[in-house]
Amino acid sequence: MTTEHTPARGDATANDPTVNVEHDEAGTNVEHDEHDNAYSGLLVNDAHWAFGTDFEDPLAGVDTTVPEGVDASDLGAYCLMLGDDALVFSQRISEWCSNAPDLEEDIALANIALDLLGQSRLLLARAAAADPALVPELPESSPVPDEDRLAFFRNDLAFRNVRLAEVPNGDFAEAVAKILIYSTWRLSIFERLTTSRDSVLAAIAAKGVKEMSYHRDFAGRWVVTLARGTEESRSRLVTALDGLWPLWSELFETHPVEAAVADAGIGIDPAEVADEASVILDQVFAAAGIDRPERGGLAGVGVHGQKGRDGLHTEALSKLLAEMQVVAREHPEGLW
């Protein structure tokens, strides 16, 4: 793809640096010469030109046939749920960029956001491939790929993420508590999902398991550190966990779509992992020397008490999406 838009008319010599040779005469490391060419290649066509920047369907070359006996719309809806969780949570965590307590944490939080963003791209692409009816329509000439149509051209009522993913950020204690809760829950689901009958979903889960083991470890260590650090850090952590706890039980409620995909052997009923996730979290709490918060679950809304998986969210989600989607929506035929 690069060849197509790499200009042929560029004069490569115009970019050659004229720095440097004088040092070699003095016998300094000649090996450094290659570094002097760092800016020489903008108009040169080579295989590594901005490597990885081209758009490729994240599922390019993958067989996305829906397994036999599986309802494609259930599979699509399920992938959308998992994809929206990862996308919305990634968006929230990325807000930490340039705001973390120190550079190491800034880098770590960006890593987590990037991993989740990568997971969401695969899951949204899987959703679109399973059930094209999910993908919002745009003008015929629009080059916007499916994953971006799903991310940027749906409104909040069409998002299926759990509400934990969308609640606004608090302090650093809130961030690590939220990541611990999310990754503990999600890791238990993904570990089971690696044996899904849908080989695409199984592969996405296998990749995610490696990533989220690190996320859980990072968050767990910080929870213990904050709990056993200073009085202030302990108190902030306890407050953060208490504030997040009402969102815990929603993670394990079975939506009809989840029940259907679990029956079909391609998805996981989250109720199945409730005990395991609780035990793991209690281990972290024990190491931290803190008690599990005692708070009831956050009520749903609407006639049937609907929640995130049903598309009924907190007030925070539509604002998050308004910001996330603004440039994309202004250019429905834009090429990025």
Partner: protein, 322 residues
Amino acid sequence: MTTQMNDSRFDEAQLQEQFDATIEAKDRIEPRDWMPEAYRKTLIRQVAQHAHSEIIGMQPEGNWISRAPSLRRKAILLAKVQDEAGHGLYLYSATETLGATRNELTEKLVAGKQKYSSIFNYPTLSYTDVGTIGWLVDGAAICNQVPLCRTSFGPYGRAMIRICKEESFHQRQGYELLMTMMRGTDAQREMVQESVNRFWWPALMMFGPPDDNSPNTEQSMAWGIKTHTNDELRQKFVDMSVPQAEALGVTFPDENLTWNEERGHYDFSTPNWDEFWDVVKGNGPCNTQRIAHRKRAWDEGAWVREAALAFAENQTAEEAVK
């Protein structure tokens, strides 16, 4: 022991001689080597300023992470801003080898006692600025920084080798974003030109004041901390950028930008140095905002850094009891 002490009394001149010989031979000065106090101070100032620039530089582009118009571009942008945090880390590590800690330098930055590159005092007003910053700002930074891979202080030079490679990658990604947008809609092409118009002059000013008004250049060049003058690098950057702009299909906002056959270089107008000094002195569009942002993040993180220290101390104490 006694011998050493005696040595140190009469050997200052000899140490200076060795230092000068190392510089003369274009060899590296390493952290444990003797160095003149003024060299150490100048280096700390320069490397700290560079480290601060990386960290403050996260903000203008970070401003668009939440609004990047595709998931792929969001990932690219987030990874790029994360790289800048990484560059800050290496550079603060280099200052630590000179005896200046990250904490003390950050305190100086947020107190307004140390500078960072003025380019980051300009706002990012459109998503396109992410591409333009990659192309022009990272491009100018690379011109400034590539010669620093050979700078006389070892840890700084080695950090710069890695940083330059990553910056070069960022520059390509930025240019590729603009290339892609130029193949998109009319509105996107207008966005690219508008953004390039805003960043061209600030990018040229990144090389610093003209040589006749750059008081530190001479000493820094003698020490091998700096290897090219501001005007030399600026000219090189202009010469490189013009064909890139033509390939992209945009123009630079300078009617005097023309090829000079005789000089073998492009002629260009004099940047607005009044604006440059005004921004350096703190009146740029975003000076206050950038420092306030960094100060808020630093202050709000204080309790976390304290908790981590307290936790580590508690662990050590517990192990001692065992």
